[in-house]
Symmetry: C3
Subunit: 111 residues, 3 copies
């Protein structure tokens, strides 16, 4: 099977619910993702300018295929308010067959 | 090591807390999972009948081994209210040794 | 590329928000993680002493590199209140380039 059709789970974060929902809608509308789960109320701890920061964020769990990941990166570069948004694609070992078929149909061009 | 004992994190979603908890209890009772984290209050954005939908769901993060994934798929096919529930198994690169031993004991037959 | 620099997403759970935040601060301060997302309000279902248990927990989603995972395990062994804390490192297939560079800088020694 062409690698581009291999399923991927992509993680991203957004500063608040409106931005998270706008990004999720955009990803699904453009068939870059079959589904996006928005996980609310997370706290992100990280270092910035030498100090530990803790910001409220929303976690996006994006269900897609390997071939769409570069386009998701480009979409986030254009649409995400951060200069350097997280976009981490996880390896998937197995997906239930019927769900995988739906996932692939959802991100196929022109369907 | 036989692949079936390799650890896996499986993602699934459920429509509400009672269904999520019933599924989680069933997976642990049947030793199909060592542990299930239920992540509340997520919003899932997806396309259905040509329109963007947004539903409230619960995310299940299922800790198991590769050999149990087909049985988890079968269990969800029987017990999940959706026709086509998500069941996505993520590749794991490393697990702390004591936790891995506990995980494997928890999903071993007849223990 | 040396494997130790390969990105990893590590999952761990903590009993409550103060412990989760202390662990997250410690991981970022020691440059064992670039960022830690704390996901609140999860319910963890598991078997203990033969009975199904359900505890409230916080899920930690730790962004790091493969070379730091053994040190994260050692840190959790010292600092986590559980005898056997979860520490599961997920395989990552791709990370957006600028974010990956930031991630690596954040966990590099002496930066």
């Amino acid at each position: 099977m062409e690698r581009t059709e291999e399923p991927r789970i992509v993680l991203c974060t957004a500063p608040d619910a409106p931005v998270a929902r706008r990004l999720a809608d955009g990803l699904v509308e453009r068939r870059l993702a079959a589904c996006v789960n928005l996980v609310p109320g997370i706290t992100s701890v990280y270092r910035w300018d030498g100090a530990i920061q803790a910001d409220e964020e929303i976690l996006l769990v994006i269900k897609t295929v390997a071939g769409r990941v570069p386009q998701i990166e480009a979409y986030l570069a254009d649409e995400h308010p951060y200069d350097c948004p997280e976009c981490v694609a996880l390896e998937v070992s197995k997906v239930e067959a019927a769900y995988l078929a739906w996932l692939r149909r959802s991100v196929a061009d022109g369907t």
